[in-house]
C-alpha cells in the first residue's frame, strides 16, 4: 500500500487518501433533471441484462400458457356455440382488471414471486387471443369448408386441416397484440417481487433518475417489437398459400 511506501502507518478502518472526492456538479448524473446520461448508460448497460431476461421469460411463459388456454376455450366455443358469449364475457372481465390489482388479488393465494405474475399475465392475454381465434375461425370462407366437406373430410379433419390453418393469420395477429401488451405490463411485476425491468424503474434510487427509467423503458419496447417481428416472420412461413396467392394476383 502507498502508505507503507510513505512510511506512514495507515490504520484499518480509516479510508485512504483520495477517498473523498471533489464534486463540482459537472457530471451529467449529478443533476436530477438531466434526461439522459450517455456515459453512465454505457458503463451500466450490463446491469439491465438480468432484469430484461427475467421479463422476457415472464412474457414468453405467460403468452404460451394464455395461448394454450384461450385456444382450447375457443375450440370449445366453436363447437358449442352457446358457450361463446359467456366465455367472451369471462375473459373480458380478466382483461379489464388492472394488472397491478390482479397481481395483488392473487397475493394471499399464491404469494409473492414469479408464479403470481405469470398467472395474472396469462389471464390478461386470454381475452385477446380468444377473441382473435374466434374471429379467425368465423372468417373461414364457406366455400373452403364446402370444398373440404365435398372431398369427404370428417369434422375433425375439417377443423385441423382447413379451419385452423386458414385462421392462422388472425390468430397470429392476436398473439402479436398479446405479446406486445404483456411485455409492457410485465414491467409492473416489480410490485410482486417477480423481477423484470420494473426493478430498474421503481427500485431504490431509480425513481429520481430519468436515465435508468428511459433505458428500462426502451429495452422493454425493443423487446416487444422484436417479439412482434418474430411472430410476423413466423406467420409468413406458416401460411405459404398466402404468399402464393399474393404472387398470383401480382
Amino acid at each position: 500500500m502507498i502508505s507503507a511506501l510513505a512510511g506512514l502507518p495507515l490504520a484499518v478502518g480509516q479510508v485512504g487518501e483520495g477517498f473523498f472526492k471533489e464534486r463540482n456538479g459537472s457530471a451529467c448524473v449529478e443533476h436530477r433533471s438531466h434526461l439522459f446520461c450517455f456515459e453512465w448508460a454505457r458503463e451500466h448497460i450490463g446491469d439491465y441484462a438480468t432484469p430484461a431476461l427475467q421479463q422476457l421469460e415472464l412474457v414468453v411463459i405467460s403468452v404460451l400458457i394464455g395461448f394454450a388456454i384461450a385456444f382450447a376455450l375457443a375450440l370449445l366455443a366453436h363447437r358449442f356455440r352457446y358457450l361463446e358469449p359467456p366465455l367472451l364475457a369471462g375473459t373480458g372481465i380478466l382483461f379489464a382488471i388492472p394488472s397491478v390489482a390482479f397481481f395483488l388479488l392473487l397475493l394471499p393465494i399464491t404469494g409473492r414471486g414469479r408464479e403470481t405474475a405469470i398467472i395474472a399475465l396469462s389471464a390478461y392475454t386470454l381475452q385477446i387471443i380468444y377473441r382473435n381465434v374466434m374471429v379467425g375461425l368465423h372468417n373461414v370462407p364457406e366455400s373452403a369448408k364446402d370444398a373440404a366437406r365435398g372431398m369427404g373430410l370428417t369434422s375433425r379433419q375439417l377443423l385441423w386441416k382447413v379451419e385452423v390453418p386458414l385462421a392462422v393469420p388472425e390468430i397470429v395477429a392476436g398473439l402479436r397484440v398479446a405479446v406486445v401488451s404483456t411485455m409492457a405490463i410485465a414491467t409492473l411485476a416489480v410490485f410482486v417481487h417477480a423481477g423484470g425491468l420494473g426493478e430498474k424503474i421503481y427500485g431504490s434510487g431509480n425513481l429520481n433518475f430519468p436515465t435508468t427509467i428511459i433505458i428500462a423503458g426502451v429495452i422493454a419496447i425493443v423487446m416487444a417489437l422484436l417479439l412482434d417481428a418474430v411472430l410476423l416472420i413466423g406467420q409468413h412461413f406458416a401460411t405459404p398459400w398466402r404468399r402464393a396467392a399474393r404472387e398470383a394476383t401480382a
Binding site: A96, P98, A101, A184, L188, F191, A220
Partner: protein, 240 residues
C-alpha cells in the same frame, strides 16, 4: 363479521380486506392513527375516477376527430395503425415514473400523460372503423346526393360505432390501470393503498386491489352497455 362469512382459509385474507374498506383500522405504525374506512376509500376511489374520466374525455376529444377525418379521407393509415401498435408497447410504469422525475408530480401532468396513452387505441379504432365501411355503400350514398359530412354522419359513423367503442373501452382499461399507479406521480388514487403496504398493511393492499377491480369492471360494463345502445339495430343483427 367477515370471518364468519368466509370460513375458508384461502379467503380469510379477503375478509380482512373487506373490513379495511368499511371500517377504520389501527395502523401498525406508531402514532395510532387509524387508516382505511369507507371515507378514505371513497376519497381515493373518486380521485381515480375523476382522473380517468378527464383523461379519457381528453383522449376522445383529440383522437376521434382526427380518426374520423383520416378514415373518411382514407389517408394516414400508417400513422393511425402504427401509432396504435407502438403505443401498446409503452410500459405505463416507465411513462409515469419518467413524468414524475422530469416534470414533477401533479394532477394535470398526470392527466395529460394518461390522455396521451389513451389516444392511440381510440385513434386506430376510429380510423379502421370509418375506413372499413365498404366503397359500394359510400358510392351509393354519394349517388343519393349526400354531402361529404352527411355521408360521414349518416353512413360511416353508425357503421363504425362498434369499432370506435371498442377503442374507447380499450383506452378506458389502460387509463384506469395506469391511474392505479398514479401515486408515484403524486396523485393519490387507490394505488396508494397498494403501493404503501407499510402504512396500510396487507389488508389495505388487498382492499385497494379489490376496489380498483370493481371500478374497472363498472366502467367496462357501462361502456359495453353504451356500445350496445349506440350500435344501430342493423349492425347488431348482422353481428349475430
Amino acid at each position: 363479521m367477515s370471518q364468519a362469512l368466509l370460513p375458508h382459509p384461502l379467503f380469510a385474507g379477503f375478509g380482512g380486506a373487506f373490513e379495511f374498506i368499511f371500517s377504520r383500522q389501527t395502523s401498525n405504525v406508531t402514532g395510532g392513527h387509524k387508516v382505511g374506512g369507507i371515507d378514505q376509500v371513497l376519497e381515493l376511489a373518486l380521485r381515480q375516477i375523476e382522473v380517468s374520466v378527464v383523461a379519457l374525455a381528453l383522449a376522445m376529444l383529440v383522437a376521434i376527430p382526427i380518426g374520423l377525418y383520416l378514415g373518411h379521407k382514407g389517408v394516414g393509415e400508417a400513422l393511425a395503425i402504427g401509432l396504435g401498435n407502438a403505443s401498446r408497447a409503452v410500459p405505463e410504469l416507465a411513462a409515469i415514473a419518467l413524468i414524475a422525475a422530469v416534470v414533477g408530480v401533479g394532477f394535470w401532468t398526470l392527466v395529460i400523460v394518461l390522455a396521451v396513452l389513451g389516444i392511440p387505441p381510440i385513434l386506430t379504432n376510429t380510423f379502421t372503423g370509418i375506413n372499413q365501411v365498404d366503397r359500394p355503400t359510400i358510392d351509393a350514398a354519394r349517388g343519393l346526393g349526400m354531402s361529404e359530412f352527411e355521408i360521414l354522419r349518416k353512413v360511416e359513423v353508425p357503421m363504425a360505432v362498434p369499432s370506435v367503442m371498442g377503442g374507447i373501452r380499450t383506452s378506458s382499461i389502460n387509463i384506469i390501470a395506469t391511474a392505479t399507479i398514479a401515486p408515484l406521480a403524486g396523485v393519490l388514487t387507490l394505488g396508494n393503498f397498494i403501493i404503501n403496504e407499510n402504512v396500510y398493511g396487507a389488508n389495505g393492499v388487498l382492499a385497494g386491489a379489490i376496489v380498483v377491480s370493481i371500478i374497472a369492471l363498472i366502467f367496462e360494463f357501462a361502456l359495453a352497455g353504451l356500445q350496445r345502445r349506440l350500435t344501430s339495430k342493423g349492425l347488431r343483427l348482422q353481428a349475430q
